[in-house]
């Protein structure tokens, strides 16, 4: 395969371009898509390449999602951009009561091939209404599938699969790493839903994680090698359906688990994974399962406050030290 370096944004644009060329029923809808190609450049070139298929809307989240839903019910494949994950709240009824439930409550008559995409995450001093990580709400909602990749290779492969899927998918990408580069093949490929990926093999502890925390975990893994601890970093990529097989395989190998996400710790996805591991793999564990997540407060604006609230490399490292009963480095 021929690899070249693309950013997360470029990988997304390429995926959308390929899919929209292949399937005329795909269209993109949301706010401010045309003038700048999306506020993070995630649709650059697409309005020109596919006239009439990238649709700007007024600020009407309920109807933006609804427009996608109604179109999906009547033969099209919409890609809905909600601007920021925080604005899913403005369309909660649509997503939770309609998109998630229509197939089931109508007894399987309908399929809803919709992708609802939004940038999420903190670290840019964007304050309370533009920094949230809300994936747990949607994992908790039966009827939805949830995806959150962070490497360009994964972004491209999963965007393609998500568009081709006949089920509704909530697709998050961390806003801080849109311009992070990574190798992406020139050749056609897709990544199936529900498959996690070992980003760094190890034998002493597994960090189960996703989105920006994967990058922090990889840094930590590198540093811990020098101290003789081999960290396995498991990037879930798809949150629901969860790749239980991969998780079980890794836990059986390392016997120690940390689950890390930028979302708030309480009732975060880590709580679910942790409960299941201890239920089914209790005998494999040599230590309790630790979780890393944000403090349970809205994301504050000022940088020192924000840094305190959201987890990063330091919180991961501290947790690792705790797990191995080591002295905590005061730095």
């Amino acid at each position: 395969m021929n690899f070249r370096e693309l950013t997360n944004t470029e990988a997304m644009v390429e995926a959308l371009k390929e899919e929209m060329t292949r399937d005329p029923s795909i269209f993109i809808i949301g706010e401010d898509l045309v003038a700048h190609g999306g506020i993070f450049g995630q649709f650059i070139g697409l309005p020109e390449a596919f006239p009439g298929r990238v649709i700007d809307t007024p600020i009407s989240e309920t109807c933006i999602v609804g427009a996608g839903l109604g179109a999906a019910l009547t033969g099209m494949r919409p890609f809905v951009d909600l601007h920021f994950a925080d604005f899913t709240t403005c369309a909660m009824d649509e997503i939770v009561n309609q998109v998630a439930k229509i197939r089931y409550m109508f007894g399987g008559q309908a399929k809803i091939p919709i992708v609802i995409w939004a940038p999420d995450g903190a670290g840019l001093s964007a304050a309370a209404h533009h920094s949230q990580s809300l994936e747990a709400w949607f994992i908790h909602t039966p009827g939805l599938k949830v995806v959150s990749p962070c490497f360009p290779y994964d972004v491209k492969g999963l965007i393609k699969t998500s568009i081709r899927s006949d089920d509704p998918i909530i697709f998050f990408m961390h806003k801080k790493i849109f311009s992070r580069k990574g190798p992406v093949p020139e050749e056609e490929y897709v990544i199936p839903l529900g498959k996690a990926d070992i980003k760094h093999p190890g034998t002493d502890v597994t960090i189960i994680t996703y989105s920006i925390m994967v990058l922090h975990a990889l840094e930590v893994a590198k540093e811990m090698e020098k101290e003789g601890i081999r960290v396995e970093v498991l990037d879930l990529r798809t949150l629901w359906p969860m790749d239980w097989e991969k998780i079980a395989e890794s836990v059986t190998k390392t016997h120690r688990v940390i689950i890390a996400h930028e979302a708030c710790l309480t009732c975060g996805f880590g709580a679910e994974i942790s409960a299941r591991i201890q239920e089914e793999l209790f005998d494999e564990l040599d230590a309790p399962i630790f979780r890393v997540g944000a403090y349970r407060v809205p994301i504050p604006f000022s940088p020192p406050l924000e840094r305190f609230v959201i987890p990063g490399k330091e919180s991961l490292k501290k947790t690792l030290y705790n797990l191995f009963g080591k002295e905590i480095d005061s730095k």
Binding site: H36, S302, P304
Partner: protein
């Protein structure tokens, strides 16, 4: 006697408009030097709406604000030092550094806060109106929002409720013609936002939002209506933002706006127009203008100095102020 009061008021309004513009320009400068993090949404060009509206309010009247709200805060009487400190994320800021530019509140001054969600302030304004009615005071609520918000469901629900209960709320649309990159003419199929008022049986007016006296007059009328229990009004103030949507807007908003349009609106700059009329009427003189300029400059410099010298909040403060 009336003339003198007017003169004093107009000079105050002029000074406030200058203060807002200088504050925003300074904030942009600080942002470009990385002293303000995140992003800011400057309201340069919209000063007449902020000042015209807030000049008709009392301190105890309430205000709901938007992400583009620095001007409204200042016009409602905010302390520049505490505003600047908030923008710089210091513990002496209005929100102790927790809110930032888009979330400044000053409850003592009736400022119930700015929202990062478009249309987020409208339902809250309804609640404040209900509270006023329940308590039986004659306060009013000024609810600011942009042209983008008029297509939000919250607009509809809020205006309907305010209308059926005759709440003392004045809905002020700062219609700067663009919701980020979406022009208003592509987002609605009627010609004037004020036409939406008839869907709620309330009065609606479209006016020149860059004429501070016109804004003030209309707002005074709407405030009297509200105070006397006659219910809400919708004011559609036509204005323009001379900057981009936010400080990261590529080309300062020129990727979706034309040079001709920008130039046309520069010609209608609210500060320039007001200044010219004040000079014409002999209310402003070179000397007085100089005084005002010096005062404004000093107050902004003081605010910046105060902010820069203020400490950052202690990280542990991040988990305080959640619950009562």
């Amino acid at each position: 006697m009336t003339e003198l009061i007017d003169q004093t008021l107009y000079l105050k309004m002029y000074e406030q408009m200058l203060t807002i513009r200088s504050f925003e320009e300074k904030a942009i400068e600080l942002f470009e030097h990385n002293l303000i993090r995140g992003n800011i949404h400057p309201c340069i060009g919209q000063e007449a709406v902020s000042v015209g509206v807030c000049s008709a309010l009392r301190k105890e009247d309430y205000m709901l604000n938007t992400h583009r709200g620095h001007g409204n805060c200042i016009a409602k009487g905010a302390d520049l030092k505490r505003m600047m400190a908030e923008l710089l994320g210091r513990s002496t800021g209005y929100c102790k550094g927790k809110g930032g530019s888009m979330h400044i509140a000053d409850f003592e001054g009736g400022n119930l806060g700015a929202n990062g969600i478009v249309g987020g302030g409208l339902p809250i304004a309804v609640g404040a109106g209900i509270s006023i009615q329940n308590r039986g005071t004659d306060q009013v609520v000024a609810c600011f929002f942009g042209d983008g918000a008029v297509n939000q469901g919250t607009f509809h629900e809020s205006l309907n409720l305010a209308a059926i209960w005759k709440l003392p709320v004045i809905f002020i649309c700062e219609n700067n013609q663009y919701a980020l990159s979406t022009p208003i003419r592509e987002a609605i199929s009627i010609s004037k936002i004020s036409d939406r008022a008839l869907a709620y049986g309330i009065p609606g007016v479209t006016l020149d939002g860059n004429d501070v006296r016109a804004v003030y007059t209309q707002m005074k009328g709407a405030v009297e209506r509200a105070r006397s229990g006659k219910g809400p009004t919708l004011l559609d103030c036509l204005t323009y933002r001379f900057y981009g949507h936010f400080t990261g807007d590529p080309g300062r908003g020129m990727t979706y706006r034309s040079k001709e349009e920008m130039e046309e609106w520069w010609g209608r700059c609210p500060i320039k127009r007001f200044r010219e009329s004040l000079f014409r009427e002999g209310i402003l003189s070179e000397g007085k203008e100089k005084e005002i300029q010096i005062r404004v400059k000093t107050s902004i410099e003081e605010a910046v100095r105060f902010a820069l010298e203020s400490p950052f909040p202690d990280p542990e403060e991040a988990i305080q102020d959640l619950f009562y």
